[in-house]
């Protein structure tokens, strides 16, 4: 089983998000970076599948040279090969990589991998990136490759040539069965990712990362400005301290109409 997992380097935002003065980016001077949460689960899922069925996990990212850090994180969790699709050098024009360009770069890598040997049987991604939240890269990649796609998956069973993938829908379970190769996007909760082992970290540090320079494509959705929405910043009315506050709390619950 050859699995490609797509991850994205995103800022680790803490107490609040700050935008750079030009309104074009999240200010990351005070933050670290990580892969999006859904994608960490995608890496874990891919590693579990190859532990059971054999094969290899390639982790792919489109990003700046620093995104090698997230590739090494994935290698430490058990991925076998890492590919960095360079985003820098073409961003100078001011246009951010969007879902159309990103999907094109991933599909090109999948075709290159197939030309070099046994291509991917499965591409796993996060349902949406934590930062841009475009909800479409996986679907676009699937269309470019002519593969089936299922999104938002929380339960996955893989056999040699098929996938059964489940998610919740209006309180019931919705299941899709698709032939491989396929694109499947997953959500946090599909598994509980492991912590990287020490040998895993050492292997990751020494690993060679393959690099390619994909071609950027025009995007029909063009960012103009990022801003933090106005939220009510106030201070809660303190009802009291400890159990002594309970009578006041009961009164509030009654006023809100949640106590009958």
């Amino acid at each position: 089983m050859e699995i490609g997992v797509c991850v994205k380097r995103v800022p680790q935002v803490g107490g609040r998000i700050v935008v750079t003065p030009d309104g074009q980016d999240v200010d990351t001077r005070m933050s670290g970076f990580a892969m999006s949460p859904h994608e960490e689960c995608a890496v874990e899922e891919a590693v579990r599948i190859t532990e059971r069925l054999g094969g290899s996990v390639s982790v792919l990212t489109l990003g700046p040279p620093e995104a090698a850090e997230q590739l090494r994180d994935a290698l430490a969790l058990g991925a076998h090969r890492a590919v960095l699709l360079g985003s820098v050098g073409q961003e100078g024009a001011g246009q951010e990589w969007g879902p159309i360009g990103t999907a094109g770069a991933i599909a090109a890598e999948a075709r290159r991998h197939a030309a070099d040997g046994p291509g991917y049987d499965l591409l796993l991604m996060g349902n949406e990136a934590a930062d841009t939240g475009d909800y479409q890269v996986g679907v676009r990649v699937a269309h470019l490759l002519g593969w089936p796609c299922v999104t938002g998956i929380k339960h996955l069973e893989i056999t040699a040539d098929r996938a059964r993938a489940g998610r919740e829908y209006q309180g019931s379970q919705e299941t899709f069965e698709v032939p491989l190769p396929a694109v499947i996007t997953v959500k946090e909760g599909i598994n509980l990712p492991r912590y990287p082992s020490l040998p895993g970290r050492l292997r990751a540090r020494r690993a060679v990362i393959e690099e390619y320079q994909p071609e950027q494509q025009p995007e029909g959705l063009r960012k103009e400005l990022l801003r933090v929405p106005q939220t009510e910043q106030h201070q809660a009315t303190v009802l009291g301290t400890g159990p002594d506050a309970v009578p006041a709390l009961v009164q509030v619950l009654q006023e809100l109409g949640v106590l009958k």
Binding site: G133, V150, G152, T175, G220, V258
Partner: protein, 325 residues
Amino acid sequence: MTILCLVEQDAAGLTDASLRALTFARTLAGPGGRLCAVLFGPADQVPAGPLGSYGVSEAYVIEPEALDGYAPQAWARTLEGLASVTVASTVMAAGTERGHEVLAHLGALTGQPMAANCVSAEAAAGGTLTVARQRWAGLLIEDAVLDGSPALLTVATDAVQPLPADTAAEPEVRVHEPDLAPADLLVKAEVSAAQDGGVSLATARVVVGGGRGVGGPDGFAPLEELAGLLGGVVGVSRVVTSEGWRPHTQQVGQTGTKITPELYLACGISGAIQHMAGCASAKHIVAVNTDPGAPILSRADYAVIGDLKDVIPALITAIKERPRS
């Protein structure tokens, strides 16, 4: 302006998210605009009244004989056909799992851009739309230009309140037969029977939240009891699920469920922004926290400073013993 909007239904009729999407669509269409809805199901069960009250003048229905159940690419192919039948300049859906998925397929089929989770949209020069859309699950807003023909977008489920039109329309119901290829039906949902039918986290009227302060998997019993007394459910923060104390299905936040209750009673939850992204639509927030400086106190309406392990059992006792009116 003609707008085509995919609407979803559940056992109770049009979903809340779809009513919000229709409200959004009507505003974008403007006075004299034309609002067309797309529904999948039997023609004799089309909720014409509610659709009309939200300003829908034409309802296109795809009956089970033509396409039974949910097949994302086939739904997108159907929208593609209807976009040309109606000459819609914008095609949209609610920002739900299916809405995002179908519009993403439509974007891929047509080669058009798709703007997910819009909170506003306005017609601009050259047939483009100026949109504001959520990034970071709504913690950040992106102002952008959407240059597509048709323009494709989804509406954030908390973008606008559902609001009927001033004057109701009489929707004309038209049965539509989509032109589908076999490949469009390769991915199709099998739906299993509904689960226990308990209150769902996303729609619960009261959510009792538990965070790190609960202390471990054994600390949730009082929260469950309190939720039961209030007719609500328990929701948890990300640390609780990543520690394995509770299942991920109970997680409230950016990567979990977005909740919309009357009351969110957040116990032992500091209020990281990723968590607050999931409860921004709560009408009222009451926090129980040992730390008077916790970020959640700047978002809550009321707070009790104290350990939830003392406060919650006392609250349960008080509720049980309070005089009945």
